[in-house]
Symmetry: D2
Subunit: 352 residues, 4 copies
C-alpha cells in the first residue's frame, strides 16, 4: 500500500464532486484535503455551500471543511495536496486544469482536454499503457504535474464492452442511449421536462460517443496514440431514471464469433486494475446477465459497487454482427468512481 | 358520406377497446352497437365490467350498455352490427377473428393474422391498394366477411416514416425503441418495475418490427404481396412514459439524398386518407420538427389528434445514410385510431 | 358581450404567463396586445425569449410578438392595452403592480398585495361583491387603475369547497396538500429532487393557506373586509405530478349536516360567474365524485376545462366533522384561468 | 447469543417474503429453513417461483430451495423449523396462521388477527411487555405455539412517534399519508394508475390506522390490553415513490410541551431492543432532522438500516398542539424488518 495521498477536489459542490467525496470516505490510499468550488461557494463551510444529494449522510468532517476558490493559490492556502480530481463545467475546465496540471497530477472528468494529443484518455482496464503519454506531455509542456482524463459517462460503459470485442475486429458501432438524470448534474433536468417524457437530445453527447472510444481503444507507440479505426454513430436520449446509463448497442465485426464466444470474451475480460487489485477495481469489469429483460438501471447500476458494466440481451444482429444492451453507473464508473480508479492506477504505477 | 355503420368492438374493456370507444364518440360514419369482452365481463353493464382509463369521461350511454361474450352468437343477440373492431389477446385473437371474419369485416389489432398471406396489413397512407387482397382472401376462404389487420404499434410510426424514403431505396433499417406503458395494456407494467427504471425487453416486439414493415411497404400484384426486401433490426425498451412510442432510427439508403430532400419527402408525404378526406385522417401524416430536442412523447403524441407521426433530429449518419427520431401515439395511430382510419378507407372504397 | 379588451401580460415567458397566452387564444372578450418579461427577455421575439411548455403549440402570431420590458413605459410603447395580467416573482411583483395599478386594472397572481386591506382577493364564485373594494382602493390611493388579486393556487381549491360549508358554520380547517410540479414554475423543481420522492415543504405555502381563505370568505361592508373567523392549519408537500393540486381536508363545523346535505351543498354551489355566464366559468364550480378512489390529478384536473374543483371521498370524520379530498388544476383555476375569470367578472360588472 | 433458530417463511415469493429473505441473510440468530407459497409456486425451485424484486441479488442457496405449500404438513416435510414468519394475503392469513400457531410461534404481518383480544400487536420499542399476552393466548387456545402480530405498515411509523408523546397526554391524532408503491405488493399498483398521478385511496388502510395505535400504546394488565383512549383519523394516499411511507401528522396533547421538549422526547426515545442490543435494533428508533424539507422518502427511508423513523418539520399547530412529518421504510421497519425485530424480542425474552 502506498503512502496516503492528499487530494484536492475541484468542483466539490457539484453532483460529481459529491460522489467523489462519498466514494473517498475510508479510501485506503487517498484522503480529502482540499475542497474547492466556484466563487459563490468559496469561503463558506462545505455544508453551507452544497446541496448534498447523496443518499448517504454528508460526512461530519467534510461538512465543516471550508471551501476554497478554484485556483492554485487558494487551494494551496487551504491545505497540502498531492493530486487533484476535477469535475468542472466545460468552459472553466480548460484553463483551470492547465493551471493545476503544470504543478500537480490532475484527474479530469471534463471534456476540455480529452482529445488533446498529449493527454491520456484512460479506462484502466483497457489502456493502462496510455498513462505513459503523460511523460510526453510533461516534456512538451515543461510541467511538473500532468493532466489525465476520463471519458464521457456514456462512452465508458460502451468502451468497456468494446474492448473484448477488439479481438474480433470492430468495424462499426451504432448506439442509442437512455441516460440517467444525474448525468446532467444538479439542478440539471427540470422535472417538468421529464415527467411522462423522454428528451431525445443531450448537448454534445453524440460527438463524444462517436470519437472517444477510438482513442481509448487506440495504440500507444511511446509517442502518440493511434486511434482505432472503426466508425461509430450515436443517438442520445435522457430518460426518467435517477442513475445508470442504459445503451442499445449494435456492432459490426470482421469475424463472426458465436454468441458463446462473445459472452466468454466479455466474462473473461480483466485488466490491470484486477491484476493489481486496485482498491476500487470491480472483480468483474463486465457482468453478463441471462435474464431476458436485463440489465435494468435500478437493479444493475450498483453491480460491482457501481464499477461493473452489466451486459444483457446479447444476440446476433440481422444487419450488423451483434446487438446487446449495456448499463453502467454514470456517476460511479462513469464519473467519480472511474476517476478514482484511474488515480489508483497512476499511483500503483508510480506516476502519481 | 356513407350510411352510418354499426360497429361491434371485441375486447371492449381493455385499454385499446376503451380507446376505440373514446375515438368513436361522435364519429360521422360509425356508431357503437355491440361491446364484447371475456367471460368474466360478459353479462355485466360496461361500467361495471371495465376500469375506465381514459382521461375523458366514460360516455353515459356506453356505461349502461351490456357486455356480450366474444362469439358471433352472443354479439348478434346483443345487437346488429356491420363491422367489427378487435383488440384481443394473442391466443384468443386467432380463432375468434376467423369466426367473425367468415361473416363480417374484421379490423384487427392483433398479431395473429398479420403475416397470413391472404390478409392485408394496412397503413392507409402507405398501401391502400393492399385492401384488394381481401377479395383473394374471401375467394380462397369462401367468406362473406374478411380479416384485415393493422401493424404492431411500434411498427406503425416507423413504417410511416419509411414510406417516403422508399424512393431513395431502403437497404437497411436499425431501430431502438422507447415505448410507452399503455402499449402493455392494463394493468400491464407494474409500477414497481418501471419507477426509476427502463425495461429493455418487450415480448415478441422485435420480431414484429423486423418483419412487418416489409409487408406493408411491399407490392400487391392483384394476387399476393411481394415484401419489400430491406433488412431491419430492432431493440425494444419500455420507458416510464404514459403514451407515445419514441424511436431512434438509422436507415441505409441506395441513394444519398440531402437532408433537405429527405425532409421534403417527409413533409410532402400524403396518401389516400388525405385525398379522400377520411374523417380520422391527419392533415399531415408526418410532421417534421426542427427544434434540437424534439419529438418528445408528452409534447408530440397528440399531433394531428394523435394520428400524425412526428419526426425530429433528422441528420446524416456516419455509418448508415440517415438517422432521426420518430414518435407516434401508440394507442391512437398505433392502435384504435389506426384501426378506425383503416375502416374508413374500406368504407370509402366500398369494401365494408 | 362587451367590447374586446386589449390585454398586457407581465411575466409572459413564465409558466403561468404561458398559460395566460394559451387560455386567451380565441377568448371572446380579451385579446393579447403586449407581452412583457424580465430584462434578459425584453427586446427578443417571444419565441426566442420563452421555452414554451404548453402541450398545445405556441400560436404563430404570439411567437413573433416582441417582448417588452416590465415597466409602464416599455409596455405602452409596445402597444395599447386596457388591462394587465401579472404573474411575477414575489420581489418584483410588489412595486411593479403598484406602478401599473396606478393607471390600469391589474389582475395579479402574486402574493405581494393579497393581504393589503384595500385590495380584493377574489374567487368569482365566492366573493364577487368584494370587487367593490377597488373603489375604496382607488379613492385612498388616488389611482385611475387598481390592483385585484387571486389567491394562492393551493388556497383556491380549498376555499371553493369551503364556501358552501360556510352555512354550516366552519370552525376549523386542517389540510395536507400534495401539490403538482408546475406550481413551482419552470425550471422549478429539479428532477433529481422528485424522482422516487416527495418533498414535504413548499416555501411560504402554509402561511398563505392558513390566512387567505378567511379573507376570501369574509364579509365586505362597503369599506373593508372582515375576515371569516375560522382557524386553519396546513401541511404542504410537492409530489411527482405535473398538474393538479390534491388536498386532504378535515373540517370542523358548528352544525352536524349529513353527508347527503354536504354533498348537496357542494353540488348546488354556483355563483355570479355561472349566473352571468362568464366565458371561462365552469358549469359546475364543484363536481362531487362517488368512486372510492377519486379525485386523481391525471383524471380530474381538466374537469370543467380546468376550472372546476373535484371533490371525492366525502365522509364523516371521527375527530372533526367532515373529511374529503379536493383537487383543482393549479395553473388553470389556480392561476391563469382564475385570473381570467376574475377579469371577466370585473368587465361584466363594468369595473374594468 | 441464543442458539440459531430455523425459520419458515410463509408467502415467501411475495414482496414482503422477499424482504424477509434479504434481511435474514447472515442473521446471527435466524436461518431460513423452509420457504412456502401458494399452490402455483409450490413444488418449484424458489428462483422459478418468484420474480425477485430486491435490488440485491437473490442469494444462490435460496434460489435453489424448493417451495413448499402453505400448510403445516408440507412445511414440515420440507424441513425443520422453530418459528414462522408470515406475509400472506388477508383471506388466507386467518386460518393458515391458526393452523401454524397451534404448533409454532407465528410472527404475522397480516391484519387477520391483529385486533384479536388475546393476540399481541407488537412494536418492540413500545410495548415489549405485551408479548406476555401469548401466555393468555396459549392457555385459552390450548396451543403449543402462538400468534403475534405486527401493525400495518402505515401505523408503525406513526405509532413510534406517538409513543414518546404519550407522556404529554395524547388526545387526538390526525394523519394524511403518502404511501409507497411497495406497500401494495407485486405486481400491485399498475404503472398506468400512478404515472403523473396520486391515488387517494388504499383499501382498509384508514380503519387500521385509526384503531391499531391505541392497542399498541395500551396497557397490558397481565390478562388483557386496555387500549389507549385517544381518537385518530386518517386519510391515506398512494404516491409515486418506491419505498417509504411519508405521513403528515397533527396531534392534540393534554399538555403544551415546547418544541424543544418534544424533540428531546423523540430523540431520547429508546426501548427494549436498544437495551437488549437486538441484532436488528436501530441505535435511534426516532431520528429528528432539522432541515426545512426533510424527511424525504428517497433520502431518509434507509436511516438506521430502514429500522428508524425519521421525523422532521416539527412545529406548533394553530389548531391541534403539534404538527410534523414522519417517514418509515414500509417494507423494512413496516414489514419484514419489524417482524424480525419482534422475533428477536421474543427470543431474547425466552418466549420463542
Amino acid at each position: 500500500m502506498p503512502n496516503k495521498r492528499k487530494v484536492a477536489i475541484l468542483g466539490a459542490t457539484g453532483a460529481v464532486g459529491q460522489r467523489y467525496i462519498q466514494l473517498l470516505q475510508g479510501h485506503p490510499w487517498f484522503e480529502i484535503s482540499v475542497l474547492a468550488a466556484s466563487e459563490k461557494s468559496a469561503g463558506k463551510k462545505y455544508k453551507d455551500a452544497a446541496t448534498w444529494l447523496m443518499e448517504t449522510e454528508l460526512p461530519k468532517e467534510i461538512a465543516e471543511m471550508p471551501v476554497a476558490n478554484i485556483d492554485v493559490k487558494s487551494c494551496e492556502q487551504a491545505g497540502d495536496f498531492d493530486l487533484v480530481f476535477t469535475s468542472l463545467p466545460g468552459d472553466l475546465a480548460g484553463p483551470t486544469e492547465n493551471e493545476f496540471g503544470a504543478l500537480y497530477p490532475v484527474f479530469s472528468k471534463a471534456s476540455a482536454h480529452r482529445m488533446d494529443k498529449d493527454v491520456p484518455l484512460i479506462i484502466p482496464e483497457i489502456n493502462p499503457d496510455h498513462i505513459e503519454l503523460i511523460k510526453v506531455q510533461q516534456k512538451q509542456r515543461g510541467w511538473k504535474g500532468f493532466i489525465t482524463t476520463d471519458p464521457n459517462c456514456s462512452t465508458i460503459g460502451l468502451a468497456i464492452t468494446l474492448a473484448p470485442l477488439m479481438q474480433f475486429g470492430i468495424k462499426q458501432v451504432m448506439v442509442t442511449t437512455m441516460q440517467a438524470l444525474s448525468g446532467a448534474g444538479y439542478p440539471g433536468v427540470a422535472s417538468l421536462d421529464i415527467i411522462d417524457n423522454v428528451v431525445p437530445f443531450i448537448s454534445g453527447e453524440e460527438d463524444k460517443m462517436e470519437t472517444e472510444a477510438q482513442k481509448i481503444l487506440g495504440k500507444f507507440d511511446g509517442k502518440a496514440i493511434k486511434h482505432a479505426d472503426f466508425q461509430a454513430s450515436a443517438s442520445c436520449n435522457r430518460v426518467n431514471v435517477k442513475d445508470g446509463h442504459l445503451e442499445s448497442v449494435f456492432v459490426k465485426l470482421d469475424k463472426e464469433p458465436s454468441i458463446d464466444e462473445v459472452e466468454a470474451a466479455f466474462t473473461k475480460f480483466k485488466g490491470e486494475p484486477q491484476k493489481l487489485k486496485l482498491p476500487s477495481a470491480p472483480a468483474q469489469p463486465i457482468i453478463v446477465r441471462h435474464e431476458k429483460n436485463r440489465p435494468q438501471p435500478r437493479y444493475d447500476r450498483d453491480a460491482g459497487r457501481g464499477q461493473s458494466v452489466v451486459v444483457g440481451r446479447l444476440r446476433k444482429d440481422p444487419i450488423m454482427t451483434l446487438k446487446y444492451m449495456c448499463l453502467s453507473h454514470n456517476t460511479v464508473r462513469g464519473a467519480a468512481g472511474g476517476g478514482i480508479l484511474s488515480a489508483e492506477l497512476y499511483v500503483a504505477k508510480g506516476l502519481a
